[in-house]
């Protein structure tokens, strides 16, 4: 087995004296989309924030072969990560162009790609981002992540949350296009989108990894996906569902 691009082992996060993550394991392989799934409150966003060092964390996060758990957020991101946060993280008082310019790290940013995927951003370049619709703000957020050709991983946290169906399609197309060049770790509630995009999936429950495997297998198994993703009745996660990757020694 080749070593993953991103390997998380036993990630733990304590915020304000409360344990949010008790030990998350996940791998993102060097191609395609890996979906991070789980019920509300399972710890998906905290996992992402822990990987990026936005919350104090312990455990091991190896990116591209290097341990990053002792690094600060900007050091981790500079190693080539594009991040699309849950609330979009768009700077409302800045213009669209300024939001994008702030994200520039490469000498030759991929404005061509961004404007091809989201032509609206070019038209609205001088508009304050705070006056954009939710969908347009999401385009800015994704655009910032796609701008740097040096990015070797994109982490997108619920990029379609709260968007109109037409915009969901637009975002999906953009992610699909991006995934051809860069692997993506995608937090997503929209299972149709997961089915369309994801190759692998990791499921969290109560701050732990509860399942890992091919995305298609999980979604094909109605009983299993109901148990893990909380569609329908609530049930405890049986031990034998824990994926082969978790808890293993590497």
């Amino acid at each position: 087995m080749t070593s993953p691009l991103l390997g998380v082992r036993d990630l733990r996060v304590v915020v304000g004296g409360r344990h949010i993550l008790h030990g998350v394991d996940l791998d993102v392989v060097a191609a395609g989309v890996t979906a991070l799934l789980g019920r509300n409150g399972a710890g998906k966003t905290t996992t992402v924030r822990g990987i990026l060092g936005l919350v104090p964390r312990s455990g091991s996060v190896r990116y591209d072969g290097d341990e990053t758990v002792a690094l600060t957020t900007h050091q981790i991101v500079r190693r080539g990560i594009g991040y699309v946060p849950e609330d979009r993280g768009v700077f409302a008082a800045l213009t669209v162009a300024e939001n994008l310019r702030l994200a520039e790290r490469d000498p030759d940013p991929a404005y061509g790609l961004v404007h091809e995927l989201f032509p609206e951003l070019k038209q609205r370049a001088r508009q304050a981002a705070g006056t954009l619709s939710g969908g347009q703000q999401q385009m800015v957020a994704i655009g910032r992540a796609l701008l740097n050709r040096g990015n070797r991983l994109i982490i997108a946290d619920e990029p379609t949350k709260g968007l109109a169906p037409r915009v969901v399609t637009e975002v999906a197309v953009a992610l699909e296009r991006a995934a051809q060049a860069v692997p993506i770790l995608l937090v997503e509630q929209n299972l149709a989108l997961v089915r369309r995009l994801a190759d692998h999936c990791v499921v969290l429950a109560d701050g732990r990894t509860a399942h890992a495997g091919p995305a298609a297998d999980l979604l094909a198994d109605a009983e299993k996906s109901r148990t893990l993703l909380g569609v329908g009745r609530r049930a405890d996660v049986p031990k034998d569902l824990v994926g082969p990757e978790s808890g293993g020694d590497h």
């Binding site: 991101v77 993280g89 700077f91 790290r105």
Partner: protein, 287 residues
């Protein structure tokens, strides 16, 4: 009429001092959540450095430059030495600035005495000029001019440079700036340097305006700096510019047309009322 003109120009001159104090305070608070109680100390450092240089026949412009440089260095030292190690502990950061705010004026009065020292005002700035029938001291114009230059420079810096972009974005969401791969701590040092420079410049100009320097000037001006910052909306330089004009004018006119002291009083009462009616300040932004 001539009284109104004189009061107006004096109010604007005072407002200019408040702006120089408040612009840095506002940026520091907006970006770092640190209410810098040492800002008055930085002003005093600038005032004494300018006074020292001016008394040693530097010439006023050079003395002002020297004072501003010393204040900038002091601010950078404060940020790197005391504020940065307490990163992620905002309450302790504020407490550390309180300690510095107490210690520095005490040190200044230990070295140069607690009494006011006469500021050597250059002859060219000591006179008055006639404006609409009023005889207005020239130094008011120097103050207003300096504040306008600083306002313009800050706007250019914030609007046209990458560092300025980082500061504006950081005022909105510091964590997201780091998540774009930017080391926001460098912006911290930068805003402290800018704030220290503006405060030290205010110190030197306060020496010109009051004709003397004393160790408590900084903390007295700091209070009104806070008033301006809060009124203008924390983190907003434009808001601070509007608020300082309002505060300076209200203070001057109320002090003249009612009993002395009522102007100062009306300013703080105005702040309290404004905060209760519009908690986010004049510009509607609360960082």
């Amino acid at each position: 009429m001539s009284t109104v003109v004189l009061l107006g120009v004096t109010g604007l001159g005072l407002g200019a001092l408040y702006f120089l104090v408040a612009s840095g305070l506002s940026l520091i608070f907006g970006l770092m959540d640190v209410l810098n109680f040492a800002h008055g100390a930085l002003l005093s450092v600038g005032a004494y450095a300018t006074w020292w240089a001016a008394s040693h026949s530097f010439g006023f412009p050079l003395a002002l430059l020297f004072g501003t440089a010393v204040g900038t260095l002091a601010a950078v030292a404060l940020e790197l030495g005391l504020i940065r190690p307490l990163y992620r502990r905002p309450r302790e950061q504020v407490l550390a600035t309180v300690g510095v705010g107490l210690a520095v004026p005490a040190l200044l009065s230990a070295i140069w005495g607690a009494d006011a020292r006469t500021f050597p005002v250059p002859a060219a700035l000591a006179g008055t000029f006639t404006l609409l029938g009023a005889s207005v001291p020239v130094n008011r114009l120097v103050l207003i001019g300096a504040a306008l230059v600083v306002l313009l420079a800050l706007r250019l810096f914030l609007g046209r440079t990458r560092h300025g972009l980082v500061v504006r974005a950081g005022v909105e969401d510091r964590a997201m700036v780091t998540a774009l791969g930017i080391d926001v701590r460098r912006a911290f040092t930068l805003v402290f340097a800018i704030g220290g420079a503006a405060a030290a410049l205010a110190g030197g100009l306060a020496g010109l305006y009051f004709g003397s320097v004393d160790p408590t000037q900084g903390s007295a001006l700091l209070i009104f700096g806070f008033v301006v910052v809060v009124m203008g909306g924390l983190g907003s330089v434009g808001g601070a510019a509007v608020a300082c004009v309002v505060v300076g004018l209200v203070q001057q006119f109320a002090n003249y047309y009612s009993t002395a002291g009522l102007g100062d009083l009306s300013v703080v009462v105005m702040l309290a009322v404004l905060l209760l009616v519009r908690p986010s300040g004049l510009t509607g932004r609360l960082a």
